[in-house]
Amino acid sequence: MEIVEMLRGPVTIIEPRGALDKSGAPPFGDRIFAVIDSGSRNLLVDLQQIVYISSAGFRTLLLAHKRADEVKAKLVLCGVSAEVRRLFELGRVLDLFTICATRDEGVAKAT
């Protein structure tokens, strides 16, 4: 799991690369929590470079989103492929997340 992080204005963009599985999800989750703990309240998670996401990845996304919610931070997703979107639907978590079609929209939404 490689995690690329960049800033666009106030928004921290986090882009995991690889499989968001049981091995990849923990470092990804740690990174999001670290960004929130460092004070960022605007986060965009770009999923376009993930190979696939398993239940471990969803668990991490949900925990991160709950944490963001607790501290009133915005957490937005983009880069969601058709396959990944279908898993969001299967897990009935689609409505829990704000999902944008492009990174630019995501940045605007997370600002």
Partner: protein, 152 residues
């Protein structure tokens, strides 16, 4: 016989190799991205369960995986020598409630059941055997020029 078999050690770091095998198998048989993704996610959940819970801590073992296309279906057999465990016995997860109330666990077997058409568990001697199968719809075996091969 259109099949591929492998054995992996019961370690999480062995799973990346399985993803490569599924992708190569999908490419060879012209399977769609969607089917390859479904099989990868389902296998990930099943193998994670086995590796994380079937063995005593530190116990070394091997897990057998076999992929085959039979009669318009992809069939995935997984067998392990771990303690008896029927994943189909797990209760369905609670998928209701908003963000604050939502439980974060239990999605794994839910994904497996929903991504596959059939899941069968049998205990044979000292081994667990799980068979996953999914019918390949006509649009899920793409012709050259389709999504998987790219347009030329």
């Amino acid at each position: 016989m259109e099949n591929v078999q492998t054995r992996i050690p019961n370690r999480l770091d062995a799973m990346a190799g399985v993803v490569s095998i599924v992708e190569a198998f999908g490419k060879e048989h012209g399977l769609s991205h969607r089917i390859v993704n479904d099989v990868n996610v389902a296998l990930d959940e099943v193998l994670n369960n086995i590796i994380s819970y079937a063995f005593e801590p530190g116990a070394r073992s091997e897990i057998g995986i076999r992929l085959e296309i039979i009669g318009g279906k992809i069939v995935i057999d997984i067998d392990d020598a771990g303690r008896p465990f029927d994943p189909l016995g797990a209760p369905p997860p609670d998928l209701t409630g908003g963000l604050r109330e939502r439980r974060v666990g239990g999605l794994g077997i839910h994904f497996v059941r929903n991504l596959m058409d059939a899941v069968e568990y049998t205990r044979v001697g000292e081994r667990n055997r799980l068979r996953l199968s999914k019918t390949l719809a006509s649009d899920e075996r793409e012709e050259p020029g389709g999504e998987w091969h790219g347009n030329r």
